[in-house]
Amino acid sequence: MNILPTAIGVVILSAATGAALAESPAIGAAAPTFRLTTLDGKSFSLADAAREHKLVVVMFIATKCPYSNAYNDRMRKMAEEYAKKNVLIVGINSNSTEPAEEVRAHAREHGFAFPLMKDPGNKVADLYDARHTPEVYVVDPEGKLRYHGRIDENYENPEKVASPDLRNALDALLTGQSVAKAETKAFGCSIKRV
């Protein structure tokens, strides 16, 4: 991944830039590209990251949402496990109510080693029409969206997950198969937009 140590603001590079509130991108369509600054001051470009990894998972997360917090361990473990398979998981916090320092402290507390970014003005959440946390999008090296939805169906008990949808999608794509359930839904906290 080419991470430039420049402290630039949000630059939206998507072809869909014209639409302030875009429709959610369709599975198989181009995932809106964006550039954000990570919490440790590095520039992150989705287009670059997609080219340099087998898959990129864009994950909208929160610090205060109980649903999102129920997945903290699962997020950390999946990021570590799939990094070995050249899959990059990144977290985006679009909540206007959760400042960067809070996101940083939350990440430290839960051992998140994956890139984390604030999304000023919830511009990236708008590009994806992301509605809640946690909500994930899987992007392939061609920049196409391959999966959108939940991490799994059981927020309450990771031991009793019956439908590990994000894992299923990643495992299928890594072995050249199509994703059986490319769009899934679950309850979650709405993103607190500006």
């Binding site: 109980p66 809640h132 939940r150 839904k185 309850f187 979650g188 709405s190």
Partner: protein, 170 residues
């Protein structure tokens, strides 16, 4: 005759009794509901404008907007508004749901989404475009057709705007 009850103890007994009555009066969960049951509950309000609000006790904006819904229902029931609440909490959170209802005292029924199964089926049955975010409200017109969906926290004015045009004129 000695009733064996001091004035102080009698007062305490009366207070306890009053407390029991108040607890009995407090709104309780109206029952478990699945997508089909919800459709039937909406159909039973035939001819009315129905606002269905999906909430959870863990959802802060849900808790914040709920008092406005309680007020909205009181303000507009005479013009034909019915409100139905649906808690999406898990079973183990039912005591918290009851406590929340006792505190907010809604005068409309609040159901508890049936646990088990995949929430996706429930979410899609309510609205195909709903991602599952909470709070979420759906407004049905007097014809029973879906008129508006409201995603995220709403103000009293937002709720009012969503239902007023559909309600009977004053």
């Amino acid at each position: 005759m000695d009733f064996g009850l001091s004035a102080g103890r009698a007062a305490t007994a009366l207070l306890l009794l009053a407390g029991t009555v108040a607890a009995a009066d407090a709104p309780r969960v109206a029952g478990e509901i699945d997508a089909k049951g919800l459709a039937r509950a909406i159909a039973r309000e035939n001819g009315k404008v129905v606002l269905v609000n999906f909430w959870a006790t863990w959802c802060v904006p849900c808790r914040e907007e709920f008092p406005d819904l309680v007020r909205l229902e009181k303000d507009y029931r005479d013009r034909g508004l019915s409100v139905l609440g649906v808690s999406t909490d898990f079973d183990k959170q039912l005591p918290a749901v009851e406590k929340f209802l006792a505190k907010n005292r809604p005068e409309f029924p609040n159901y508890h989404k049936k646990s088990g199964g995949d929430d996706q089926e429930f979410i899609e049955a309510v609205d195909a475009k709903w991602g599952g975010e909470l709070p979420f409200s759906v407004v049905y017109g007097p014809d029973g057709k879906k008129a508006r969906v409201l995603s995220g926290k709403q103000s009293y004015a937002d709720f009012e705007r969503a239902v007023r045009a559909l309600l009977k004129p004053v």
